[in-house]
Symmetry: C2
Subunit: 350 residues, 2 copies
């Protein structure tokens, strides 16, 4: 676990002053912690990204037939029209069951150190297999998914083109790899990136003041890097545990992954890109107001009571992380055949 | 109710012959029954279609916050990636309840004489209000929808631009009009249109043979016009009622709309564009195989037993009605605000 780095405070003159020198000083300082989004799709481990694979991944991402019921696709809880998540406390899935944690955004998720709130999936291809099989989400099985995809000639062709060296390309693993390839393209360059890249006018004075506060107060101890978070794990309630309405006792976070006492109530720091689009907040999804969420974080993680004005400035800065969603055209999916397993809304209780 | 027109049978030489004259003869004959899709968005009653209104309608169509739970949007059951429907017998809605009838495609629906299987909505703007309020579908109320849309400044602006002469443009009616405007753009020109428009090579010999059978056998009595159906109402089982597995006794069709005995088990003839993409078939959604559906129709409506070969040819023709879905980019929707009503998955039993 990382500790908060010692933070060199900038004078506010450096932020508010009009001189190019001070603007550059703030930028140089910010660049010690943050990185702008790259201009190209990042490479991912063990999965060369090709145009064919991205296209296949997009089809799979949108295909509700990856769920047992035919109701849910990846897109259902990672809705690309609403910030890459689903605007609910926790997602509603198969049989109208509620999932245990708030759905995180898929946008820029490729830059997170690992996936899920507890980091239990190393990467997006591992993540993709989870909800498809979870009984409370898509409630499907790898066998049924492969049978579904194999039943449609167009899908078989797409897998062949995407995995050209494989004798049996239609596999659950390759499905996950294709989804990862598509998701890796979901980058949303934001005003903050323009500013980091040298455009002084990309951020307003209030946003810059918020950025300075974000750094001065120590938020950057956990929320840094290209995703302004998502890089490491920290206890929720490092200084002071929030109430059990926000941090339910039953969900001990990363403890379930590592079985280590130190990891009780430890979660991956939330990546903050597009955070203004992805209420409600925290793994419990219990807080809808971003300013309140910022104040809770300051108190529980830093022992800081932020004034309304301070929290407002930080929220303004966070707004500059709302990026441009890439243009996504809805795919045209192949029709079922006689061989396609039929959807079932039945809820199997084990 | 229309009766089957007397059909002038063509010799099969007219179909299979290579001469331009016979091809034109078949086309002229077909044009007595069918109309190609227009090249422009059709006008609709009482709702001038503008670019702004289409864009707003697209946003609304994709927005799951039109449902009480936040789970369902228009797109959920009229999925534009899978033929404009949802590939289920009947849709799954709020509280995991199943709807009473198969979800019809939204593609080209603007050309249907009325909407829903029983025609209970005069047009798409009337239709759009139904599922949003249906307890088993989106389970919302007009008041809650208006509160939701009014809570987001971007939506208010979009409504103002789309309905520039109105003092209070954010209304449930205007929501429905905008959705209708977007849906009116969902036209899918198909090979059959190319052929009707004069391209002899657009249809294969088998498809042409199927077209001839489709006309000769009398399918065109109900399935004609621009949507090859969707123009009028007919009893399901005109000659011979199919089994109650396919025609459940409890659903008496248009009888519920008109309260007229003549309308018992009467339904709007299914529009057949993209029919190969929209299994399962019939209002009950009980038949997955298009060839079987064709044979059931021939028997129940025409008293004809089609050979496997004949049904196969008709299915080939129906395949030529699969059109090109317009390029649709996913909209970027505004984020909730403090004023936005929160989603609720609660099922209210009345």
């Amino acid at each position: 676990m990382k500790l908060a780095p010692r933070i060199v405070l900038l004078t506010s003159a450096a932020v508010l002053g009009a001189s190019a020198a001070s603007a550059n000083e703030l930028r140089d300082y910010a660049l010690e912690f943050f990185k702008p989004l790259p201009s190209t799709v990042p490479a991912v481990a063990d999965n060369p990204i090709t145009k064919d694979k991205i296209d296949l991944g997009k089809a799979l991402f949108f295909d509700p037939r990856l769920s047992a019921s035919g109701v849910f696709s990846c897109y259902s809880c990672h809705n690309l029209t609403t910030g890459g998540d689903d605007n609910m406390e926790t997602s509603v899935g198969h049989g109208w069951q509620k999932g245990p944690r708030n759905s995180p955004t898929v946008l820029n998720a490729v830059f997170n150190v690992a996936q899920f709130w507890d980091g239990r999936a190393d990467d997006l291809k591992a993540q993709a297999k989870g909800p498809i099989q979870a009984g409370v989400e898509m409630a499907n099985t790898p066998e049924n998914v492969v049978a579904t995809l194999s039943s449609m000639g167009q899908y078989v062709e797409w897998f062949e083109t995407s995995f050209p060296d494989e004798a049996e390309p239609v596999t659950f693993d390759n499905m996950a790899k294709a989804i990862e390839a598509f998701e890796a393209t979901l980058l949303t360059p934001a005003p903050f990136d323009s500013w980091l890249n040298g455009d002084d006018n990309a951020l307003s004075e209030e946003e810059l003041a918020g950025l300075e506060l974000f750094m001065d107060k120590g938020c950057i101890a956990c929320h840094a890097g290209v995703n302004i978070g998502g890089e490491d794990y920290y206890p929720f309630g490092l200084i002071e545990k929030p109430g059990s309405d926000i941090l339910p006792e039953g969900d001990r976070g990363r403890f379930a992954v590592t079985d280590t006492v130190d990891d009780e109530y430890v979660f991956r720091a939330g990546p903050l890109r597009n955070i203004a689009m992805t209420a409600p907040y925290f793994h419990s999804g219990k807080v809808w107001d971003l300013k309140v969420a910022v104040q809770i974080m300051a108190e529980s993680q830093l022992g800081e009571e932020l004034s309304d004005e301070e929290a407002g400035k930080i929220v303004a800065f966070l707004g500059s992380l709302t990026g441009e969603v890439p243009t996504i055209t809805t795919p045209v999916l192949p029709a079922e055949t006689a061989m396609t397993p039929r959807p079932t809304a039945e809820v199997i209780v084990e």
